[in-house]
Symmetry: C2
Subunit: 185 residues, 2 copies
């Protein structure tokens, strides 16, 4: 899995082959094929691994108030590095997401990934609504809107090299203040 | 250009070749190469053509109030068809956008495209701020946030087959009411 990550960061999704993964993992291609019949099987297993890693990463939201965790979520999603290995992995991951338009198995695996992310965010929002920190918003609709806005900004940063992840912070803040967080006066 | 559109809708961005464009345009491959030295030149010219077409399309925002035009913009961006020629073209266009991560010329052409879209939206928002229909928001930041949110929703619809373009309507409305449109009471 770490080998797959490195190959994706190095040569992108189009360049991913089981031979390259074998080289990166310092094993034989036949061993890779022993575990994963096809490249598609490898990618699906990799997406499950990434989902678990992202789940652990989202533990980084911490134990604070719902507002703190919501802001930490936004920060985590927008802290996309560029020009290093993880930045190039993110480009490859975007390529994989695009490939899901034509591949049912990638689509199913990625839907499980986004469901997991949504569930984490929904739990935060439900918590905030319950404690009165947030207004009475629809948790799932709000989570999805935020995911789309942040994902759109990350995509524009990675593909168009817009300063999107920075530029979007003020409007996201305006959204949180104007729609989600309880009014304070 | 229409031939290029059809080839993209038919076989996707990876399948785009000057031979296929020649076949779709019912001309010789050498004629295509007479106008466009490389496939990359063809793609860049195509993106200029799409930008002009999108500019004409955005004329469809009409001459109404700023609020009407803003809502019309949201509707136009979210009315993404699926499973027909234009839906598959949109998938190919997303593939092209993803390819811009590794291609400076596609990136530059796409940045001109998104600048044009932003300029249209900024003009609407400036107008609304001036007439008092809108609050005193930052027009460009607001335009970009909306573009990212709508683009993220369209991408999730096209790649993950989420019902994103429908699901996002209520949260977009909440954003417009809570942040952009002037308070009415």
């Amino acid at each position: 899995m770490v080998g797959t990550y490195r190959v994706l960061a190095d040569v992108g999704f189009d360049g991913l082959t089981t031979q390259r993964v074998a080289d990166a993992a310092d094993c034989s291609q036949s061993l890779v094929h022993y575990h994963y019949d096809t490249k598609e099987d490898l990618v699906v297993a990799f997406l499950e691994w990434v989902r678990e890693a992202e789940g652990d990463y989202l533990e980084g939201l911490g134990e604070g108030s719902a507002e703190d965790r919501l802001r930490a979520f936004v920060d985590l999603q927008l802290s996309i590095p560029r020009d290093d290995e993880h930045g190039w992995f993110n480009v490859a991951f975007l390529e994989l997401q695009t490939a899901a338009a034509r591949n049912d198995r990638y689509r199913d695996a990625l839907r499980e990934f986004t469901s997991m992310v949504d569930d984490v965010l929904v739990a935060v929002i439900e918590d905030g609504v319950e404690t009165g920190e947030f207004r009475d918003v629809d948790p799932r609709a709000t989570a999805r809107f935020l995911r789309y806005a942040l994902h759109g900004a990350v995509g524009a940063t990675l593909t168009l090299h817009e300063d999107a992840t920075e530029a979007v912070r003020a409007p996201v803040e305006a959204y949180l203040e104007g729609v989600v967080l309880a009014e304070t006066d």
